[in-house]
């Protein structure tokens, strides 16, 4: 190994260390920013070292330079524009889109490495096997992430869509992907097998994610993130590059852990979520209790009185808050209450919203200090001494039916909102949550329903509180 090659390898090691340290620093909010910068530094080092390597090793053609630089610069510009323009409520679909890009790029790198190696006629087993695996994983991730992004953006219906043939189609497509990949690994010069694997994997990604309902998307995106990492690691095997292997495996492991945490929070297995169909109304809607009981409606003025004379208010945000982009409105209301000396905190359910920690990001955007955001375990013991729990666009994560067996949400850990002294629910209608069942909290005598869009409702409440306290 020449001194130059050794230097590049050492720089790769440094970059890998930056990724590990960067992720580690993201353990706590105060150091998270630094963590992201350390990781970005590692990325710059790795890319710069690679460009130096390519320039030093004079094999690259002028076309190769053009292709590489124009592609990378164009892609970077588009990525930067998206990242700067995206609204905080739309982060999940953007992350999903970046997953698609990463997975797609990994599959293409494997394919290109394969093409280059196959023309030199000495295609080793290592390249053949890892290419086959990478084409399969990369293609599933690419098409699956594009569909997930479309569902979150609303360009594809969020409800579970059953493809013709249902589960059988999915099983056949999955099987075709695996068989194609195995045959491709065994007979690496077969273009037919390459095309079969690619087509089956792309179709499987689409069919798999179409079946999954919108509220399960946090888990799906997390899983696709892990898969992308894995695809990148496998691409590292194809082109024999250690930094790809390390970074990809790190992301594969992190995505895997996150996926499991999220699935645990919903008390469902990853397999059950990925097989889809949940929330399509096929769950038995029995034993939900009091479905036809009357609900108590309140006006903004009455709700404002309740809030203004409370001493402890817990705000429970859900997807409705994100959908209505009401994070600034809720912050304004909370500030009004705090000025009156009322203790305000936010109860964050692990799967509220469409991404892990989705609510935290939204509220952080509105300058809510993260110390006011309480995770479920921390806030639940506080509900009995809470005067008003203000629920904004959350549903299943507060349904007391989860404590009983036999309902669609049974066993899911919930926020104990029903133990607060009184509850105000801001909701657009009596519509069901994602699980498609009644929420008995709404008919509880201490619950008042304030029917409004989250943003409009919060603005009205704020105005009413101001009038009330003579502001």
């Amino acid at each position: 190994m020449s001194g130059f090659d050794a230097t590049v390898r050492l720089l790769y090691v440094a970059a890998a260390a930056c990724f590990v340290v960067g992720l580690h620093l993201m353990n706590a909010p105060p150091t998270a920013n630094k963590g992201s910068r350390v990781s970005a530094t590692g990325m710059v080092v790795a890319v710069a070292a690679t460009i130096a390597l390519v320039a030093h090793d004079t094999a690259i053609s002028a076309t190769g330079w053009t292709v590489m630089l124009v592609g990378a610069i164009l892609g970077s510009a588009v990525g930067l524009a998206f990242a700067q323009k995206v609204k905080m409520t739309a982060i999940p679909q953007l992350v999903s889109l970046f997953n698609a890009m990463g997975g797609g790029a990994a599959a293409l790198v494997a394919l290109a490495g394969f093409v280059a190696a196959s023309s030199s006629a000495n295609l080793g087993g290592r390249v053949a096997v890892s290419t086959a695996i990478d084409v399969a994983i990369g293609a599933v991730t690419f098409s699956g992430s594009v569909v997930a992004s479309g569902k979150l953006q609303g360009t594809i219906a969020g409800r579970p869509i059953i493809v013709p043939g249902g589960r059988l189609t999915n099983s056949v497509l999955a099987l075709a992907t695996v068989v194609g990949a195995v045959l491709l690994a065994a007979r690496p010069h077969s273009v037919a097998m390459l095309v079969l694997t690619l087509a089956a994997a792309l179709a499987f990604g689409v069919a798999m994610v179409l079946r999954i309902g919108g509220a399960d998307m946090p888990v799906v995106i997390s899983l696709l993130n892990a898969l992308t990492g894995t695809a990148v690691a496998v691409a590292g095997f194809v082109i024999d590059n250690s930094v790809l292997i390390i970074a990809g495996a790190l992301v594969g492991a992190s995505g895997g852990i996150l996926t499991k945490l999220m699935a645990d929070a919903m008390n469902r297995s990853i397999v059950a979520i990925m097989s889809g169909g949940f929330g399509g109304g096929d769950s038995p809607g029995t034993d939900t209790g009091g479905g036809s009981a009357p609900v108590r409606q309140v006006s903004a003025d009455d709700a404002a009185i309740q809030l203004a004379y409370a001493s402890k208010v817990v705000i429970v945000p859900g997807y409705g808050l994100a959908a209505a982009q009401a994070q600034h409105a809720v912050r304004d209301l909370a500030q009004l209450l705090e000025e009156r000396g009322i203790e305000v905190s936010y109860a964050i359910h692990p799967v509220a919203g469409r991404m892990p920690g989705h609510m935290n990001v939204l509220l952080a955007e509105a300058d809510v200090p993260y110390t006011q955001l309480k995770p479920m375990d921390e806030i639940n013991p506080e509900f009995p001494r809470t005067d008003v729990a203000l629920v904004i666009g959350a549903n299943d994560v507060i349904n007391p039916a989860a404590r009983r067996p036999g309902t669609a949400v049974s066993g899911m850990p919930i926020l104990d909102v029903d133990q607060a002294k009184s509850v105000i629910v801001i909701k657009r209608s009596m519509g069901h949550g994602y699980a498609g069942i009644e929420n008995e909290l709404y008919t509880d005598p201490k619950t008042s329903m304030f029917f409004a869009d989250a943003k409009a409702g919060l603005v009205a409440l704020g105005a009413a509180v101001k009038t009330l306290v003579g502001g």
Partner: protein, 111 residues
């Protein structure tokens, strides 16, 4: 099985374990930024795209390398930019009364 492949497998397994260990301690508050950060790290595939562009010597190779570089560039730059934007929003202390002014502790104990 070649030494090179064995080395790569060793690296992969150890990296997976490091990943599990490093990630399993992250609090819920940071799950989205973390996912976004992990998302940008898999943009390392840009290195792969550059290397295949260098070894390409026919049209198919160039086309694949071009699209790979395009995708990877989008992933890596977009990923870091959006992670940065998200993290900038995490404040250490309650925001000042007048919205828009940054608290001194913004970005929290950096450097």
């Amino acid at each position: 099985m070649s030494t090179g492949l064995l080395t790569d497998l060793t690296i992969a397994v150890l990296s997976l374990l490091v990943g599990f260990e490093v990630i399993s301690k992250v609090p819920e508050t940071l799950h989205t930024p973390l996912m976004s950060a992990a998302n940008s790290i898999h943009g390392i595939v840009l290195v792969g795209a550059a290397l295949v562009a260098a070894s390409a010597h026919n049209t198919a190779g160039y086309v694949l390398a071009f699209v790979a570089a395009l995708f990877a560039g989008m992933n890596v730059v977009g990923g870091y930019a959006v992670t940065g934007r998200m993290l900038k929003m995490f404040k250490r202390r309650p925001a000042p009364k007048a919205p828009g002014t940054e608290p001194v502790s913004s970005g929290a104990a950096e450097a």
